[in-house]
Point group: C2
Chain length 278, copies 2
């Protein structure tokens, strides 16, 4: 076992709609749904150390899912997490950090595990932390993922929308993921399942966004401010919807710019999470 350092990148992931699925086994827990991985993401550097210490964008911090990954790997480490994405705003930053930590931590420790095993570890860590149900498997895949069966590799199954696009996003604040997921999710499950059926029947970006808007309305997760921004973009002929779960609007092409906003600009991400070649 070497004890060097390694870095990995995982793309951000905006969930557009979802239906949670619970099990006693965290590897079988997860969600079905649809989303977009984005070219901005999370870079994690892992260096073996006596005790685990986590720095986020240059400051000491904590991220439960990252700590659980290192526990599972048995690798105490100094972890540097860097991201330009807003945290808690629906970009799956904790899932990306957990997944990149798994990839970099495994490599730093000599590389005993396969990608599926590392995705499972990161997925289970996210489930245990209560910070996400489907981001990790989506971020491992990349592209525009459809989660057609919930859970980690070996249980879950993915498909994708064969498209690519410039993206824009603007965040207006956080939503409490853990609180929403621990409430009554029957309406979310039903709306999410309907949305997935609709997109599988017509796997295009246009259908994904239309299904996302219907999901946001039907679940009551769409607040008036976000709804107004989405409507402005739509009125200008653009595509936009709400990120689940965050007070964030994501749009295709130049929709947000055309509506007078000054959004962050990114693209759909082609690949999944990966080690960074030093």
């Amino acid at each position: 076992m070497t004890t060097g350092g390694a870095r990995a990148f995982a793309p951000g992931h905006v969930t557009v709609f979802f239906a949670p699925h619970w099990s006693d086994d965290p590897a079988r827990t997860g969600s079905i749904g649809g989303g977009l991985t984005i070219s901005e993401g999370v870079t994690v550097g892992v260096t073996a150390a006596e005790t685990t210490r986590i720095r986020i964008n240059g400051r000491d911090g904590a991220m439960d899912a990252v700590g659980y990954v290192l526990e599972e790997l048995g690798v105490p480490a100094a972890v540097r997490i860097d991201t330009e994405l807003p945290i808690g705003a629906g970009f799956g930053v904790s899932g990306a950090a957990a997944l990149a930590t798994a990839l970099a931590g495994n490599h730093a420790a000599g590389g005993a595990l396969s990608e599926n095993e590392l995705v499972r570890i990161a997925h289970c860590a996210e489930v245990r932390a209560g910070t996400g149900l489907g981001d990790v498997v989506a971020q491992a895949r990349g592209g525009i993922p459809l989660r057609i069966e919930p859970g980690a590799p070996g249980f879950g199954a993915l498909d994708g929308i064969p498209a690519a696009s410039r993206l824009e996003y603007q965040s207006f604040g956080e939503l409490p993921t853990a609180e929403i997921l621990s409430g009554d999710t029957r309406v979310i499950r039903e709306a999410g399942s309907r949305a997935l059926e609709r997109v599988r029947a017509s796997p295009t970006l246009e259908t994904l966004f239309a299904a996302g808007r219907a999901f946001a309305r039907e679940t009551g997760l769409l607040d008036p401010e976000i709804e107004a921004v989405v409507r402005e973009v739509r009125d200008g002929g653009g595509e936009a919807t709400m990120a689940m779960l965050g007070r964030t609007v994501v749009g295709l092409g130049t929709g947000l710019t055309d509506a007078g906003y000054e959004p962050s600009v990114a693209r759909t991400h082609t690949g999944g999470a990966s080690l960074v070649i030093e």
Copy 2:
């Protein structure tokens, strides 16, 4: 149905070892094995046309798997296939061309199918053409794929080696894929299954290359010229093995250069095949 044009890219794929699996159903036919996707690949432009016409690197040509994909999509088209990779030398060019044609052809026709459906169509076209058994699913995934169950999405299953590296390759000519695959493949099946077990137990690049060399020896596919090049690289402390099926040596880092060759240089490819944003 729109009738515009679209472009897609699929990475090259070097199979390091494999075990073929046959079925009456082409979607269940395929191979288990291990390989590397590489940053060089195939770009395909598809424009709807009255009759199908295929140009390869600027010249009229034919590629059965590409023709079968367009038939299955019901999209006669003008197809431009461009690649810097040598054809018939073990880089999965026909698989990449079939997969990129499926992605671009679907998009040009309005986008009715999902990624899994397009991968299935390209995989079945390759099987029907007799030009490959596992390249398409590997190229759809990217990274360093392990094909742990054979066949198209829905039947096959993939894992991956969590690594990334500079690659070098040098080709010394073609091997007749169809001829080898239509012969007695018992020895290949047994050696390929052993190699996969070995790599799954230790999913690193070093084990992949060691398993590949053992596979090449055990199957008798390693000819003396290729064997000598691999040995030179190994003697210099580098990693190299033979591409299956081609008279090509692929190495990590600067192994071939260090041994005095002037190889092509590439990297492991992070993502799978995807549309190109115009």
